[in-house]
């Protein structure tokens, strides 16, 4: 791999992902008329496979951000909260999109609501510290 150009691996990977996406789109179109329930499952698996292909790169990006956060002396609580919120938003979006694709937009919007509520609950420490700071600054 070392004798190739620097970006060629990333190009290969995006080509691979586009290929997976196109092939599974065609499969889903074939299956949708006959068996829509299995077409939905194919789309779920496609989403999972594409995410798993990207997972290692994503974790290295997260590690990079975390190392810079450590160097800038950001409290780990704040950084971890932002990270967790990103993860929750991703899973909620994934589930909601699947439900939307299958035509259940009511359930999809409930999943999104649940994601938002959980994110607000997780952000409580940040919100309280912000409000404490505002109260401290405010003239009595």
């Amino acid at each position: 791999m070392n004798d190739k150009k620097p970006g060629s691996e990333a190009v290969m990977q995006i080509v691979q992902i586009i290929g997976i996406g196109l092939v599974s789109t065609v499969i889903i179109l074939i299956l949708r008329k006959q068996k829509p329930e299995i077409a939905v499952q194919v789309s779920i698996v496609t989403g999972v496979v594409i995410f798993l292909l990207l997972a290692s790169k994503l974790s290295s990006v997260v590690e990079l951000l975390q190392s810079y956060g450590d160097r800038a002396d950001i409290k780990p609580v704040y950084f971890n909260t932002v990270l967790k919120i990103t993860g929750i938003a991703y899973i909620a979006e994934f589930g909601a999109e699947i439900c939307n694709d299958a035509g259940e937009s009511a359930i999809a919007s409930k999943i999104e609501l649940a994601g938002k509520v959980i994110i607000v609950v997780m952000a409580v420490p940040i919100i309280t510290s912000l409000l404490d700071l505002v109260l401290k600054v405010m003239p009595q």
């Binding site: 092939v23 068996k35 496979v49 292909l53 991703y90």
Partner: protein, 65 residues
């Protein structure tokens, strides 16, 4: 492992669809229904494992839990 899973599920789907048509044509609606159900359950068992892998990966990357 990833791409063959997609193809495997697609193959099961096409097989179940064909079997379903055959059984309906030969007048065995109940068995056609059972075939559909069995195919759906088999595929669901495969998909559930994959979703568990996805959730575990997301949990480790984003340091949930």
């Amino acid at each position: 492992m990833g791409v063959d899973l997609i193809f495997r599920i697609a193959a099961i789907g096409i097989l179940v669809a064909v079997l379903n048509q055959l059984l309906i044509r030969s007048g065995r609606e109940e068995q056609a229904m059972m075939t559909t159900l069995a195919g759906l359950i088999v595929v669901l068992l495969m998909v559930v494992k994959e979703i568990a892998v996805l959730f575990d990966t997301v949990k480790t990357i984003f340091k949930l839990e």
